[in-house]
């Protein structure tokens, strides 16, 4: 066991060590070192076995502290311990301190300046770091480590302080912590070192978990204080580390009081957002797009439908006030592809066009002039029109050059990727499949209640809308049936009228036939009204709800990217720690650069996530407002249609009434 530990320091497969030491070292420790006092253990740092044992016991402690943590995290902790242990080993070697006593002395000397510093310090971070450099000028890795880490601190400062915490708030806990540290640090100096190393590993663990589970972090961060306290005493060796640690402490400890604000930070921007929305509502978009004159171009299976897209606008961004272009269906899809690629990941709800329908289109292509194919074309035309109108009504999408090009440019490059059977289509299918899989695997710990609720709302609304759509479709079917049956009854009544030998009754019967004929017309119109005004509105919302869900997915993806970056950063830091202990300056340099790079990425991704979240929220609010407006308009339109048909009906029957009375 010793050999494995010492031989391969930097990249030890942790599993090996983890498996053995946890069981064995305990016994070996008791054999070799009857004095099981922790301080004694840690004196003999060169003894690998004892260190392992200590690490093991410590890890147990830690596990206790982290009582609420999950198994996986525990595993991580243990793993960290093991690597730490390795680094201890190395550092001992590099420092050339074989005598534990001298080490202790060194430590004691190192503590003094720190205490002084903490006494006067406001800018704790940098000042602590400085004396360390002085002290350990002979230890180049530490000096070098300091720089990036202080930069790191700045970054963190930036992040945390800017939105949630006031500047002083942030430094204070750190300072207080340090003070308390030094009080306790005096006594158990001896064991401070392993503790430090250990805590160093531990500190990084919470940094991961803190974002995930701020509450449990808040709880154990207090207890960890002790460990960290000891750690600060150990500043001598790795103050930059410590800084980060403090960050780690500050972070989890900050969320404890601010775990609410953390959530609130997302809810807080809401009021201003809504205000913004209302402002937007005021400035109406003076642009109207209509899709007209569907026309079949070509023959056979290569035939396609072309539509006239007319735009009417007073917006200065367009060259003319009115212009018309011809677009085919795949152009509409192409526009959507472009828009969703560009704006989807940013959390925008890109209005979706009607789906491709192989069956419907084939019917049209085959050229049967039956009612179902004209119905299909009309439905699609309406859907396309509403789709475009939604796009141009969107303040951000309207600005997109592709939209303008779509509306204005005479000839559009053919959109190829929209074909269902093309290679691109196939790729898209695969992408969709992988997306679906990754969606299932991503387990987002939703920190924001608003999003959670909205997602649920959207999902249940989607379900209900689907059900409603099916019902309205069946209503349409029944209405058409009624219209058909009325027509055949009208015919039959006319025949009966012709057979009737009483003139007045015969007349009345043929009048009735006429009334029923008109009824048939009414029912037919009503069926069309059901379809185009009601069913299509619902279909639109099913599509739009899909888009809303898409924007939620994009937000989740952004979150996932952020998390990935964070765990990557974590890994890099571990590597750095190993290198630090292994004293490999050349590699360390690289590692530090990498850390810096990933830190930047983490920040970037986190901001991305925040931004996407904000956009999604804004978009959803916009969507809901539009929905309400639109729904109302559409419902009124539908009802007015119904009203008209009922009024017609009254007229017809009133005209019939005298005929019936005339029967003698």
């Amino acid at each position: 066991m010793d050999t494995t530990l010492t031989s391969d320091v930097s990249m030890k497969p942790p599993s090996d060590i983890m498996n053995d030491p946890l069981i064995e070292p305990m016994s070996s420790q008791t054999e070799n070192k009857p004095a099981s006092e922790p301080s004694d253990d840690f004196f003999d740092l060169t003894n690998n076995v004892s260190v392992v044992a200590a690490a093991a016991t410590k890890s147990d402690d830690f596990v206790d502290i982290l009582g609420s943590e999950t198994g996986a995290q525990r595993g991580e902790v243990v793993k960290a311990d093991v690597t730490v242990e390795a680094t201890i080993d190395k550092s001992e070697v590099t420092a050339g301190i074989t005598d534990p006593l001298s080490q202790q002395e060194a430590k004691q000397t190192s503590t003094a300046p720190v205490i002084d510093l903490s006494g006067d310090s406001q800018p704790v971070t940098s000042k602590i770091a400085n004396p360390l450099v002085d002290l350990f000028s002979d230890a180049p890795p530490a000096a070098e480590a300091k720089k990036p880490s202080s930069a790191n601190v700045d970054l963190f400062d930036d992040e945390e302080g800017s939105d949630i915490f006031a500047e002083p708030l942030q430094t204070k806990p750190a300072k207080q912590l340090q003070k308390s540290l030094f009080v306790t640090a005096g006594g158990p100096l001896q064991d401070s070192k392993p503790a430090n190393i250990f805590s160093q590993a531990a500190a990084s663990t919470p940094s991961v978990t803190s974002t995930v589970n701020s509450k449990s972090n808040g709880v154990h961060s207090e207890e960890e204080g002790d460990i960290f306290a000891e750690a600060t005493v150990e500043l001598s060796l790795d103050s930059p580390r410590n800084e980060r640690k403090k960050e780690a402490i500050a972070k989890p400890s900050a969320p404890t009081p601010t775990s609410l604000p953390a959530a609130a930070s997302l809810t807080k921007p809401q009021p201003p957002l809504e205000e913004e929305e209302e402002e937007e509502e005021e400035d109406k978009f003076d642009i109207f797009v209509s899709v007209k004159d569907p026309e079949k171009i070509g023959d056979g299976m290569n035939a396609y439908m072309a539509y006239k897209v007319s735009t009417q606008t007073t917006l200065p961004m367009f060259r003319n006030k009115t212009f018309t272009v011809r677009r085919r269906f795949s152009d509409f899809l192409g526009l959507y592809e472009k828009l969703s690629e560009k704006h989807g990941p940013n959390g925008f709800i890109v209005p979706p066009p009607p789906e491709k329908s192989l069956l419907g289109m084939t019917k049209v292509k085959v050229g049967k002039e039956d009612s179902s194919s004209t119905d299909f074309v009309e439905r699609r035309r309406g859907a396309l029109e509403r789709y475009l109108q939604r796009v141009v009504n969107h303040p951000s999408l309207l600005q997109d050059p592709d939209v303008r090009e779509f509306l204005e440019r005479e000839e559009l490059p053919r959109a190829v990727s929209t074909q269902a059977l093309s290679g691109a289509g196939f790729l898209k299918m695969i992408n969709k499949a992988t997306d679906a899989v990754s969606k299932m695997t991503i387990k987002m710990n939703e920190s924001d209640v608003w999003f959670e609720e909205k997602l649920q709302e959207v999902e249940s609304a989607d379900q209900q809308f689907r059900k409603l759509h099916a019902l309205v479709e069946s209503l349409v079917v029944h209405r058409k049936e009624l219209s058909l049956n009325t027509a055949s009854f009208a015919k039959s009544a006319a025949m009966l009228g012709s057979a009737e030998d009483n003139t007045a009754l015969s007349r009345a019967l043929s009048q009735l036939a006429e009334v029923e004929d008109k009824m048939e017309q009414l029912h037919q119109e009503q069926a069309a009204n059901d379809t185009f005004t009601f069913a299509e509105m619902i279909a639109d919302y099913i599509r739009l709800l899909g888009a809303v869900r898409g924007s939620f997915d994009h937000r989740m993806k952004a979150w996932q990217r952020w998390q990935d970056a964070q765990s990557m950063l974590q890994k890099k830091r571990e590597t750095e720690a190993k290198l630090l202990w292994a004293n490999k300056p050349d590699k360390l340099q690289l590692a530090k650069e990498e850390i810096a790079e990933w830190e930047a990425k983490v920040t970037q991704y986190e901001r991305d996530f925040e931004r996407v979240s904000a956009t999604v929220r804004k978009e959803v609010i916009r969507f809901e407002r539009e929905k309400t407006k639109n729904c109302k308009r559409q419902i009124i339109k539908y009802l007015e249609c119904l009203l008209q048909s009922q009024q017609q009906l009254i007229k017809y029957w009133e005209a019939f009434l005298p005929e019936a009375k005339a029967i003698a």
Partner: protein, 409 residues
């Protein structure tokens, strides 16, 4: 006017009481002769059996009491009808068509389906569907009672048939008539008789008609029968389609309602209102459907059967004519052979007499039938048009109210 107090004893419609029901779906031209008034104020439905209470009020001396009620079942009505048809003396009359067997299969089946689909519906939706079905069941029940009542009223208002002994027994005998149901042999016999009749109709169609009136009536009734049969089927389909729409409204209303319940935005109100409207709408639509059924489909259905009865009269007359022709031939033959001449003469005379009698009463019957039909159509058409207008006006008010509400928000 109708006052109906249905009470569902079980959730299924095993039992149903109906008291005082006098809404007449089919008006027949009845002589409002106060000497014999019949109605069915009460009926009880148990499983497939419907027990009618037949109430009679009379001033005729042939009855023992002026006012009495007896319990009767559907089978008793059929028995009465069959005895009338078989009575030779009434061959020249249009025997009022027998009431159709109560048919609760359609609502029962629907009820069954509803029970199966219960899981897919919200509780509210289910309750509404059930209510709707119960209403439908009630409507069927009502129609059944009416059609039985009308059968008796037709008989009571007929100058000849109202004096019929069997009819009077039917009305007066206060015990169960306990007519047995037709057994299989009789059922088959009836079927066979029908076959023979149709074959006979074809055979005697070759006999030359001597009277223009009957010639015309025959062509008219045949033509009219096929037309009205067609119209009845179409009207039935139309009514059913109306019913389906009313049912759709229930589901749509329920779904809109649950959609509104989940919606936290301002859209909630819109959806709620729409749901509300559909709920009211379905009631109107349901009423349109049932009124159409009552005023149009029932009318056509009834006259389809009535015309069948008229056709039967024509057949009996044609049969008599054929018999007369045959007796003429037999007389010629007998004269040729100089054998049994007086018997043949007697037979020929009888046939002629019968035929003449049939023709005479048939002519009267058919003429009155025509008048009756016209009056019935007129009445029903007027009522239907008025109801349609009423319902449509209702819808208009509902729609206008809803639109205003939405707009004002």
């Amino acid at each position: 006017m109708s006052i109906i107090k249905p009470s569902f004893k079980n959730t299924g419609f095993n039992k149903l009481c109906l008291s005082y029901c006098q809404l007449r779906s089919v008006s027949v031209d009845l002589n409002h002769d106060a000497s014999l008034l019949i109605d069915i104020p009460d009926a009880l439905c148990e499983r497939d059996k419907v027990k009618f209470t037949v109430h009679t009020k009379t001033t005729l001396s042939s009855f023992q009491k002026p006012d009495f009620s007896v319990p009767r079942q559907h089978e008793d009505f059929i028995w009465l009808h069959d005895t009338l048809v078989e009575t030779e003396d009434y061959a020249g009359l249009i025997i009022p068509p027998a009431p159709p067997k109560p048919d609760f299969d359609s609502p029962r089946e629907k009820m069954h389906k509803l029970g199966e689909g219960e899981a897919t519906m919200t509780k509210e939706e289910y309750t509404k569907m059930k209510q709707e079905l119960e209403a439908e069941y009630l409507a069927v029940f009502k129609k059944t009672v009416q059609v039985h009542e009308i059968f008796l009223q037709r008989l009571s208002s007929h100058p000849v048939l109202s004096k019929d002994r069997n009819f009077q027994i039917f009305l007066e005998y206060d015990q169960d008539l306990s007519v047995r149901r037709k057994n299989a042999k009789e059922m088959f016999g009836g079927f066979f008789k029908n076959m023979v009749k149709s074959a006979d109709e074809v055979l005697i169609s070759g006999v030359k008609e001597v009277d223009d009136f009957f010639e015309q009536e025959k062509t008219f009734l045949l033509d009219y029968y096929s037309k009205i049969k067609d119209s009845t089927a179409k009207a039935e389909k139309m009514t059913r389609a109306h019913k389906n729409i009313a049912d759709d409204y229930i589901h749509i209303s329920a779904t809109l309602n649950s959609l509104a319940a989940d919606d936290m935005t301002a859209n909630k109100k819109n959806l709620e209102k729409l749901s509300d409207l559909f709920e009211k709408f379905r009631k109107v639509e349901g009423r349109v459907a049932s009124d159409q059924d009552l005023k149009l489909t029932e009318l056509l259905r009834y006259y389809m059967r009535d015309i069948q009865a008229a056709k039967d009269l024509l057949y009996r007359r044609a049969r008599a004519l054929a018999d007369y022709e045959n007796s003429n031939k037999a007389l010629d033959k007998a004269r040729l052979k100089s054998k049994d001449i007086p018997q043949a003469e007697e037979h020929q005379r009888q046939c002629l007499q019968k035929f003449d009698k049939l023709s005479e009463s048939g002519k009267k019957e058919l003429t009155s039938f025509k008048g009756r039909r016209v009056v019935a159509f007129r009445k029903n058409f007027i009522e239907m048009a008025e109801l349609e207008i009423k319902h449509a006006k209702n819808s208009v008010t509902l729609l206008q109210g809803c639109i205003e509400l939405l707009k004002s928000n």
